[in-house]
Symmetry: C2
């Protein structure tokens, strides 16, 4: 359906390419108006083009489908004049690479998107995650299923598409395509060379991205601004620009009781219960306010600057609304602001398992208990060093650490045994908020959003941005478009169409930003 | 196959019914020899009769099969002259009731067995739990699958049958049938009237037993000695007689975080993690030595008597062997003896669950975390009162207790919310070790086992014996026959054939015991 919408491949007019701030903002303003005209006229076509893309399952481990995603997306940009390549590495999902030269370009920008999605747990979704459904508003606000629009229909910005990756992170793709088409439809010129870099395994930790950047380093050595299109907007509902992302790592800890399930009557009070051991070990890691008690956990973090604090203070306070939305009477650290909490590393307990609860529970002392722990890191925290600190803490509680389930000899030697399985991960990234190379983007986005634009020192989520700093030292900023209540990483992920349309306007302004 | 073995219905000779201890022991000794002769000659038939019974699935909730078990068992005793009835109540599994009058009986004994088994979790068993398999010895000692014996084969006492309920608690059925046949085959008279009471839902907590005893109270009002055939032998491998059993109850506790799964990056360090809350709450309940920290948890327990301590001291110390067997470097309370630990109430953590661990783990702060907690009780502990103490402890940690998942209003009002689901349960029972009515049984069993017989003040496991105290006030003793390493309540449950044959001898001595 999108193919019927007018788009012009490469024949860009330079008519508006006049330097100077006043004219620059004219150009940007025209671009934004073009974007508004475009999604006003072609809203149904944009929605339907997007749902076609969402219908292709995109777990990075689903080799056939992830490749179909890559080919589909590459074709769409190729039709718009981009030189496209599917870069390959070792049977990993392809890295979609694209480039577009702009006559008289002021800079070269790189746009990162990831086209894979979080694995789905079908049983908990209200609908199948790869059969997109349109709702009149958020499900939790009483939204109802409505038919998809047909060309000419007016789109209500509160409508939501429910599907895996509707927000995280396929949404930037239709938004960018639409921005390009909108500008070309009104002959508004771009001001930057553009490079596309679309990751196919971000939700699996981007295990091959480093190698990709290494192997194809010549493609990425001339970037002046890295633009990452991922993550949700500010929780106030206002648009935001983000200057850093947390790093991530994790580990799994299993502790042991008897080598087999033992009758809890005959041995309860005598055989050590692994659940008690695990809960005691975990309880020693965090206090009731959420502060981590592991030695030196906060030591390596860079200091929070005055600029950070000023930006946090200027941002709308959303904490009360968030607590209300999520049904929380209190948040951690005595209701400390979210913006501040995100500037510190986090220790998250993502999962607990020992035997069974509910109907399947048995009167047995189980042989083991396991915790899945995730860490979120800030600038200065080395992922491996942080895992070392957690391990040192476990040792300090008297545990002997093993890497495989212990054999009999080990069991009989050490009263307390913990199997620690270390995950991979990567460090945080943080750019300066006052870098000259970022100013044109801030100006362009302020033309879209005015004072509503929130400048965020740090996003809570993680992206593998550290690799890009090495590939081409340049500021890295994140421009999210998704609604914050998008159920990212959870069942019933969704995108609010008003946010998708904001994305078209934001990208139109970005494509035309001026020094 | 068993049907071809000679058994005489009711025509008992009174030839050996001469009172006096010397003659009494002659009678018992003859009975034991008859039992030995019998299992020596008909070992294969006993094994095969037993495996036929084990092949009938016996989860109490499997209505068709549990009833088939009841009918099969009733028929076997009917064929041996017992007046059998399947007592009924409200669609519960039938209570198998049987009675046999003995001319000149010295007393009336009641024999309790339960014919249902723990629910099976097929996936973890080495073989299907209801397709019995014979092993040359314990699987964990390198036993191998061997063919079932044919009549005339010599049975090795180390052979084991693997199947659900092989020990808990179908084993007493073939043992008792064989003891009856052995005595009748050699015209050795019984000395007691016998009543049978076979429970069909013990592993589901015997929810209807109380009603059964009430409805049919006239059948159970004249008992002089309650004999409970359940549980494993002493961990030393020696036979035992037990004078008490722990009571049991339990509860499930769920604590809450955000009302939906939240991205651990965006909200980690801000949204309270239910796993941390649960681990902290549980850690406050028990210290690292296994002692319970809940106020008054130990207050209502009856004092441990000198007789208890003497019996524990006289019993073989099995703690070192048990730790070795179960791969434990240390047991709770600084290696305090198992016999002593069992005389105190226990708090067991049977299961933990929050989101997922392993491959299914996600970077999400889960909405809830749940613990399944079991309590084992000693004489003096009221089950409901004990649960009240646990709830009071939870409240003392700042939790608001609810009975259903909290609604939004409740969530926003209380920072800490715990859903507590209270289980049912029953109190402990403990008989005096020097009661005159028990002396004949102790003497009889000593004739079988000599000084090896262990007198145990308290068994760790639970049986609903408290109801019988009310139905007919009389000593209650437990005569277990299963090997202690039978994997009771766990996969790969088994019975050692030497233990089954001990059961035949023990029951033969019990059927002929004399004042």
């Amino acid at each position: 359906m999108m193919k019927s919408v007018k788009h012009i491949a490469c024949a860009l007019s330079a008519a508006f390419c006049i330097h100077g701030v006043a004219h620059a903002q004219d150009n940007v303003e025209a671009a934004i108006q073009a974007a508004k005209n475009y999604h006003g006229q072609y809203g149904a076509e944009i929605v339907n083009m997007f749902t076609d893309l969402l219908a292709i399952p995109n777990d990075a481990l689903d080799e056939e489908n992830i490749r179909l995603n890559a080919q589909t997306i590459a074709t769409m940009f190729e039709e718009r004049g981009f030189a496209m390549e599917l870069l390959e590495h070792d049977g990993a999902p392809p890295l979609i690479y694209g480039s577009l030269e702009t006559p008289g370009a002021q800079r070269t920008i790189a746009i990162y998107v990831h086209y894979d999605g979080q694995p789905t747990e079908d049983v908990k979704w209200s609908h199948s995650p790869f059969e997109p459904v349109l709702y009149s508003r958020s499900m939790t606000d009483g939204g109802e299923v409505i038919p998809f629009p047909v060309p000419g229909d007016t789109i209500n910005p509160d409508w939501r598409i429910y599907a895996r990756s509707a927000s995280d992170d396929k949404a930037p793709i239709p938004a960018l395509l639409s921005a390009i088409d909108a500008l070309r439809g009104e002959d508004i010129p771009f001001t930057s060379n553009i490079k596309l870099i679309f990751d196919g395994e971000e939700e699996r930790g981007s295990p091959n991205l480093d190698e990709y950047l290494d192997t194809y380093s010549e493609k990425f050595s001339d970037i002046d601004l890295w633009l990452f299109c991922d993550g949700p907007g500010h929780q106030s509902g206002q648009p935001q620009l983000v200057f850093g992302v947390r790093g991530v790592t994790g580990l799994e800890v299993t502790v042991y009781g008897p080598d087999r399930g033992l009758h809890s009557g005959h041995y309860g009070n005598w055989a050590p219960g692994p659940g008690w051991r695990l809960t005691s070990l975990l309880a020693s890691m965090k206090d009731s306010e959420g502060d981590v008690l592991i030695d030196d956990f906060y030591s390596s973090s860079i200091a929070i600057t005055d600029a950070d604090r000023a930006a946090i203070a200027a941002a709308p306070s959303v904490d009360d609304d968030l607590r209300e939305t999520f049904g929380l009477a209190r948040s951690e650290s005595n209701n400390a602001p979210l913006g501040e909490r995100i500037l510190q590393p986090a220790l998250n307990l993502q999962g607990l398992k020992s035997a069974e609860v509910g109907d399947k529970s048995r009167n047995v002392i189980p042989p083991s208990a396991t915790a899945a722990i995730g860490l979120r890191l800030v600038k200065g925290n080395d992922p491996s060093d942080m895992l070392d600190l957690v391990e040192a803490h476990i040792r300090a509680q008297g545990y002997h650490i093993v890497r495989e389930d212990p054999d009999r000899k080990t069991r009989l030697k050490y009263p307390l045994i913990a199997k620690v399985t270390r995950g991979t991960g990567y460090p945080a990234v943080k750019s300066q908020m006052d870098d000259d190379r970022v100013a044109p983007l801030i100006n362009a986005l302020k033309t879209v959003a005015g004072d509503e634009l929130v400048l965020t020192p740090m996003l809570g989520g993680s992206l593998p941005l550290y690799m890009f700093e090495e590939a081409s030292p340049a500021p890295i900023v994140v421009l999210p478009i998704a609604n914050f209540d998008n159920n990212q990483h959870a069942p019933d992920e969704n995108i609010r169409l008003g946010n998708l349309f904001y994305g078209i306007e934001a990208y139109a302004s970005m494509l035309t930003m001026e020094e």
